[in-house]
Assembly symmetry: C3
Homo-oligomer: 186 residues x 3
Amino acid sequence: MGKPDKYFAHISAIVETEDIGNNTRIWGFSHIMEDVVIGENCNIGEHCFIESGVRIGNDVIIKNGISIWNGVIIEDGVFLGPHIVLTNDLNPRSGYPRPLSKTKIEKGSSIGAGSVILSDLTIGRHCLIGAGSVVTKSVKSHSLVYGNPATFKKWVCVCGNVLDRRYLKCTCGKKYKLQGEDLVET
Amino acid sequence: MGKPDKYFAHISAIVETEDIGNNTRIWGFSHIMEDVVIGENCNIGEHCFIESGVRIGNDVIIKNGISIWNGVIIEDGVFLGPHIVLTNDLNPRSGYPRPLSKTKIEKGSSIGAGSVILSDLTIGRHCLIGAGSVVTKSVKSHSLVYGNPATFKKWVCVCGNVLDRRYLKCTCGKKYKLQGEDLVET
Amino acid sequence: MGKPDKYFAHISAIVETEDIGNNTRIWGFSHIMEDVVIGENCNIGEHCFIESGVRIGNDVIIKNGISIWNGVIIEDGVFLGPHIVLTNDLNPRSGYPRPLSKTKIEKGSSIGAGSVILSDLTIGRHCLIGAGSVVTKSVKSHSLVYGNPATFKKWVCVCGNVLDRRYLKCTCGKKYKLQGEDLVET
């Protein structure tokens, strides 16, 4: 259990990896297993669990009460809202083990509080998953989705604001266009 | 970390405020930060987190696994069911901090297990939020709401029983009337 | 707090019963109260709470973040997905205590991640509750249900695979038939 000066871990946290970047903070009653890699400037809330094999990028915010299982990939700048639920098994059964399925959460996406994310799917870049959603399939980059099951509602900017539907412009100044079914910055 | 005789904290809890009322109990692996005020006769379950700035009334029941963020106000006699999820940010984004939004839960309301409560809203007095709800907007006093998103279903009494729809009478003896769109006791 | 050689408890767990079967494992920051009985070959994840009075069978998998209340019965071979929410009070109100209601989860059933299970109900044998469901009433054996509220979708095998709708045969070789409204193995 290494606690170099470069990152902070609360006295009640259990940290079994040393692959943690500068300026990352890990809060109370959280447990980071061995063979976990966490980037710089991350914030990992209380009562979290990160399983061996997980890779987490830089500038990631992980709020309280989240378990991150082997098979889940968290890219840079992701926000995981409080008490979201991740999975790595689409058809769990005691006594019938199956291969793990994967979940990828791409750069800059935010997942709203209490959402449940099924596995064998990708949440694209800069998405916004509304609080309390159940995400059952992959989500295209820049989508705002919500509901149970979560469905597409609107496009969102890198900054998180909803885009004007006709002009695909953000109040922050960024502009986008549709390329086939995908939204791209212009 | 004060633990005066007047209230009880489990040996595994971390309590960093002294503003806790008589006869309040705080259970295992919970963390109460400094600058939190908690009233009398409250029960705070296991694996809870209460952030600096939070104010909690008297006779409040907080079941297990709940994070209460700065910006959330909990009045007297509230019941927070197990693993409900509270929020204080309507549009979270790593690297794009925004002003906190507020959530107020008024006197005597109950929030059913596993519900998700968005912010910038008020849950009125003596409401009942059904288990597994996603509450996206303010709820009038004495409402029973549920679903994702939660919608109005019926009126409920102070005691928690559903009111007879026509006569607005409770089996406990209390009587109500509509005043505009609000239910008031007569 | 007994920790016989026959089962394993993580150093950060609190275990107050000795009625735990061989080869059961209890992980970090979990709390098992006195007067709990747990069978053999169970796995109880991190940040769990098991209340006095609970009975858990053999070969049960309990993932992270789950509170199991007095009034909940867990039979052999059950899988409780991460962060599911159980209840024992249909109409909670601070200051208005009511009799506990019961929840029974029968042999071999799986409950998907983040689901909320109301009380005064039974989940039959070998069911599959999809992730993010809100279960409001009893579920017949071998049912796949999901949604908020959860409704019947398909029949599933003991092994967890969905059955061919017309022939009620599983790819694992097992065959079933309908007997009235119930599915039985032939």
